[in-house]
């Protein structure tokens, strides 16, 4: 069934893009369909001849994808009908990996000795039916009323950002990859320019200008540039739309006629603005997820611990690492059929603290670490690690402990009491 779902999904993705293009540019219908079929077959053949993918081809695909997406977005600045040809070429370039992916999955499934070719073909057939049905609907919808040429490109780029490209290969969003590509460029280009402008790069000499250049080659600037690339075209298209002058109605005598003209104008703005607003929303979501991906969270598996009498002893340096690395270390303690989770961390001031993997406010979903913060996985509130160990709010609940040499010891009773107290509060808040 995998091959059925994969070919169906890729086929539908292909069809949606093609339907949009055919809907907005009906006079290019034949050319669009023929070229799409050619590219689909080309992608499949290319993969078939080059299976498993050679390093260069794979790198070339990823290398080609950035400029394709970026160019697609920036072509939206030139809202002319003539742009349809480069647009077709670009969209198809972006779609090429879809055809390739389908082919790869089919090949892999074949190796497993099932019936992948037939089920894959069945998936493609269903996608084909979806496309034919869509084509007949298109005649009624009149897509042109929703899109100007810039809108088409911005919308298509957003669609490809979400469903296409690298995401399917290595589970990293295209924006993260774009950011990393830009970061790589900045990392070498900025020092090059710094050197050409005779700005010192010695470690002991820090000037204002060298600090500015240091900032320019940071991850943050790379992300800001990626955001500009992502948002500039839809924002410009939006501004263009909003600056569309209101129709002249002063010369028209009848009020009904005036209202009708204004209604047409508003309708025009609403219809053409909707895809752009959607694209912007998609962009914001993608940027947020990419931002999180750049600063990944750290959520270690809890290490089971046992007690000796009432004491639970945690070594601060063992095979799981050294606590001075600043990372949180989670532990689970099993008692009376219940699991009590807690974590320890070394704060930037050098103090090791032990806290429950829960706060007083939220249901006990635990915490993850993101850089210098721990983040509550229930309410997503980030707390600086420096404040861990302080009670109240969404801070993790402190547990009494002592540090003796290289061991942190806490009381089993105190741990259970703190946990029960939290559980009681939570039930209380739910009941209220």
């Amino acid at each position: 069934m995998t091959s059925f779902y994969v070919s169906l999904r890729e086929g539908i993705e292909f069809s949606v893009i093609l339907l949009l293009l055919v809907g907005v540019y009906p006079h290019h219908k034949k050319r669009l369909i023929v070229s799409a079929l050619l590219i689909a077959c080309g992608g499949a053949l290319l993969t078939a001849f080059n299976f498993p993918l050679s390093g260069f081809l794979r790198k070339a695909f990823t290398g080609l994808l950035f400029p394709s997406f970026v160019l697609l977005l920036f072509l939206s600045f030139m809202s002319r009908e003539g742009i349809i040809y480069p647009l077709i070429a670009l969209v198809l370039t972006v779609l090429l990996p879809s055809a390739e992916l389908t082919s790869v999955v089919l090949e892999e499934a074949t190796l497993k000795g099932r019936w992948p070719v037939l089920s894959g073909l069945a998936g493609l057939l269903v996608a084909g039916l979806f496309f034919m049905t869509g084509l007949s609907f298109l005649k009624r919808i009149k897509m042109k009323q929703f899109f100007r040429t810039d809108g088409v490109m911005v919308f298509l780029a957003s669609f490809c950002f979400v469903f296409g490209g690298l995401d399917e290969f290595d589970a990293s969003s295209i924006i993260t990859v774009l950011q990393q590509g830009l970061y790589r460029l900045l990392q070498s280009f900025v020092p090059f320019i710094e050197e050409r402008l005779l700005i010192p790069d010695g470690k002991m000499v820090v000037t204002f200008v060298s600090e500015v250049f240091g900032y320019l080659s940071s991850q943050r600037v790379a992300m800001a540039l990626a955001a500009c690339i992502l948002f500039l075209p839809p924002v410009v298209a939006f501004v263009r739309l909003l600056l569309t002058p209101e129709p002249e109605t002063d010369a028209i005598g009848k009020r009904a006629e005036k209202r009708k003209i204004v209604a047409v104008y508003i309708d025009y703005l609403m219809k053409k603005g909707t895809p752009l607003a959607l694209s912007l929303a998609v962009g914001i979501v993608l940027l947020h997820s990419a931002n999180l991906a750049v600063r990944p969270t750290y959520d270690p598996e809890p290490i089971p611990v046992v007690s000796e009498g009432d004491a639970i002893a945690i070594p601060l340096k063992d095979k799981f690492g050294d606590i001075s690395d600043g990372r949180i270390r989670k532990y689970s303690f099993l008692s009376g059929g219940k699991t009590y989770r807690f974590f320890i961390v070394m704060r930037p001031d050098g103090e090791v603290v032990a806290v429950l993997d829960a706060c007083e406010v939220c249901p006990p979903r635990g915490y993850v670490q993101r850089g210098d913060h721990v983040v509550c996985t229930y309410c997503n509130t980030p707390m600086p690690i420096q404040t861990v160990g302080r009670p109240g709010g969404c801070n993790p609940i402190p547990v009494p402990y002592v540090v003796q040499g290289d061991t942190l010891a806490l009381s089993k009773g105190a741990l259970i009491t703190a946990h029960e107290k939290q559980a009681g509060k939570e039930t209380g808040s739910v009941l209220r």
Binding site: G63, L64, S188, F189, R196, G202, V239, R240
Partner: protein
């Protein structure tokens, strides 16, 4: 005239940009340091270099042409175009014509080119604190006084100074002991070691089977929790010295000015600690172009949004009328 028209024509810029962008994309696939590889191509490869030259020429002529025709309403984009061309030209000229020489110097050294370092002034704190592996220690107010062609010139890290040797600036600085080394009958002096920020180790291969490792010695060590902080005295510094024979440590000690370390035929004497600066002399005709280009790009980028909105407002009525008419017709 035809060539000029061809260079200035609208279609050429996207083609040239596309060639350069494609080259960079190709290099991202092939090389781990794509910009470094691109710089090499810009310097040596006829086609890549020719494309960049043509692009620079196109941008310059296009910008000047606009201003020449009195299109002041597009002044911002003209400034951007001209500045970009200057910047690009600057990079190309700099890649081929730049000559760089640098040397670590202390006042006791002889002349470097025609320059003699007279004095180094710097604000070096008496104590430096390193917590864990991190420190915010830097040298402030680093200044080198040099004598060149009978004139005394003060050189700082930024801005650079123009002298008869070229552009001169201080790239780095530090403090280092002068170590007199004697192995058998052979004598040598080691100085201007890179020992800052405190904790940094300088590894020196000496002409024998020995290896020498020198670093600043911490005066005090604090512990809070599991975090360690080290305090270094920079006014009267002590140095940790490790002498290795192959992989075997034969001497491990701490020495100050005037003290000695010896092992068999190996003798090391610690001399006076003195500051040093890394002086860089650059000869490059493109520095003016690069700075002109950057300033123009900043000014142009600030002005451009105003020009863009104005142009859009002027352009839109005609497009909107067409669209509205078309829309009304479909209703």
């Amino acid at each position: 005239m035809r060539i000029l028209r061809f260079i200035i024509s609208g279609g050429i810029a996207p083609a040239l940009v596309l060639i350069l962008a494609a080259t960079y994309v190709f290099l991202t696939i092939r090389s781990e340091t794509p910009w470094g590889a691109m710089a090499v191509l810009l310097k040596d490869h006829v086609i890549v270099r020719g494309t960049a030259v043509l692009l620079s020429l196109h941008l310059f002529l296009k910008g000047v042409h606009r201003l020449w025709r009195g299109r002041t309403e597009r002044a911002a984009s003209s400034i951007l175009l001209v500045s970009l061309s200057l910047f690009l030209a600057g990079i190309l000229v700099s890649l081929t014509s730049r000559e760089v020489e640098s040397k670590r110097l202390s006042p006791s050294d002889g002349p470097f080119r025609e320059m003699k370092l007279l004095e180094i002034t710097a604000v070096i704190p008496e104590k430096a604190l390193v917590i864990g592996e991190t420190t915010d220690f830097t040298i402030k107010g680093l200044t080198a006084k040099i004598a060149e062609a009978g004139e005394t010139v003060t050189v700082v890290p930024f801005p650079f100074r123009r002298t008869s040797s070229g552009y001169v600036y201080v790239n780095d600085g530090g403090i280092s002991p002068s170590l007199d080394l004697r192995i058998g009958s052979e004598k040598s002096t080691i100085s201007k070691l890179d020992l800052l920020p405190p904790g940094k180790k300088a590894e020196i291969s000496v002409p024998s089977r020995h290896t020498l490792r020198v670093s600043l010695s911490a005066e005090r060590e604090f512990k809070k929790g599991r975090l360690t902080a080290r305090e270094y005295n920079l006014l009267f510094p002590a140095y940790d010295v490790i002498v290795k024979e192959g992989e075997r440590v034969v001497v491990e000690t701490s020495i100050r000015e005037g003290e000695k370390v010896s092992h068999e035929d190996f003798l090391l004497q610690c001399g006076k600690t003195e500051p040093w600066v890394e002086l860089v002399v650059v000869r490059d005709h493109a520095v003016v172009l690069l700075y002109g280009g950057i300033i123009g790009l900043v000014v142009g980028s600030l002005l451009y949004p105003v020009e863009f909105i104005r142009r859009l407002r002027r352009k839109l009525p005609s497009e909107a009328v067409e669209s509205n008419t078309e829309n009304s017709g479909t209703r």
